[in-house]
Assembly symmetry: C2
Homo-oligomer: 217 residues x 2
DNA sequence: GGCGAGCCTTGTCCCAGATCAACGAGGCGG
DNA sequence: CCGCCTCGTTGATCTGGGACAAGGCTCGCC
């Protein structure tokens, strides 16, 4: 990884109203190459991160190599905020990417307790939300429902447009608690049902949003 | 449900140092019978809760009835704190139980911003921690590992003592993403391996903590 | 433009766990 | 004390998704 450039810290610990703006003022921009580690499991968690461009995944690995992806983070999303002193997942660059990094204590000092807390609180809540949805997916959904939910989530509200998958099949599989083969088969199946349309392995379009929503349960 | 008795609110919004103490000062004690609903999915989340005695489960149900248990809460644990305006899981009494209930806004006003935030923050972080561990369990562990992990978690550090399961097999199954039959079989298997010892369906003792830890991955 | 090297897909077989179906074993009310 | 009712266990069978094994595609590199 390499340092791109450093943004000067504000001179005084004045209140900065816009919490989302804090990071850009205080952070250091760093570049990571695809698959490069951003932080490791059990490392100290005194830095917080925000994706500027590209995407990031967090993962946890069992002793025998089975891997679970916790979450994917895209543009402007924060990650790496932990409750305890160290990270419970590791984070890696999903694609080549640029990430804003700031020291938590510095942020707090420079931005004020309040603004800092709003920032961290909203990020944590968002995290919890997504983790709980993910929990339901892993606990009770079928392979087909998992894949359908995943595509829905990625495409959000742009139903007609083409979307590019920033990750390969293995990453999808490890997020969904499946194997690459099963993911691939379900994608083929969804195409066969004319619910989604693929142009190459990484580019898709939702052809029938209602059907997809139904299949995602 | 029935009102047991109300604790008087403190007269002034002074700082109360001990965050864990806030609820007992401000809360209303309520009793719930086994399987009674404490709050429902999508209801307003303006109340926060703490288990006094008994135990509570949070659940989420898919349209066709498949159920996922989010978490079990035992003595002194808080639950029901949400990021958004409404609950994403519903909560039910796992056993007959007593619960402290307080209005979030009242707590905040009476206890002070700081103490309130510490309280909510620690509860949320704890929640996230447990949800992430649960995620790994559901995504990548085998049936046997899930059951072993679950027993480990329940027994915590009292390796020799007898522990009572507050929930039935169905609740275990819905927490672990399995069926009752599979849970039952895994328990039998663990007993056969002399790792745990059951006295009746609800009482067990960890006979070999190291083996159990190994099996939990 | 040819040729690897990764990915992705597809086929086949297999197995962990689900489903279906009895069968016990406590526990409680009568 | 008996019978019933709920919950848990066990057995038999089935199946969704995993494991293994070939191919195909794409894209970058020579």
């Amino acid at each position: 990884m390499s340092l791109a450039h450093t943004v000067a810290a504000p001179s005084a610990p004045t209140q900065i109203a816009d919490a989302a703006d804090l990071m850009s003022r205080m952070g250091v921009k760093m570049q990571f190459a695809k698959d490069e580690e951003i932080y490791g499991q059990d490392e100290d968690a005194d830095l917080i991160y925000r994706v500027v461009s590209g995407a990031v995944r967090t993962t946890r690995v069992l002793s025998d190599g089975r891997r679970q992806i916790g979450e994917f983070y895209y543009g402007d999303e924060m990650f790496g905020i932990e409750s305890g002193p160290n990270h419970r997942f590791s984070a890696e660059a999903l694609t080549d990417c640029t990430v804003l990094v700031a020291k938590a204590s510095a942020l707090k000092a420079a931005a004020g307790q309040d603004a800092y807390e709003r920032l961290v609180w909203s990020a944590t809540n968002n995290e919890l939300d997504r983790t709980q949805a993910h929990l339901l997916l892993l606990g009770r959904k079928t392979a087909c429902e998992r894949v359908a939910s995943f595509l829905m989530g990625l495409a959000q509200r742009r139903s007609g447009e083409a979307v590019t998958l920033p990750m390969g099949r293995q990453d999808m599989a490890d997020y969904l608690g499946l194997t690459i083969e099963t993911v691939s088969r379900m994608l083929t199946q969804l195409q066969g049902a004319l619910v989604v349309e693929f142009a190459g392995a990484r580019q898709f379009r939702i052809a029938d949003p209602h059907a997809l929503a139904r299949m995602a349960e």
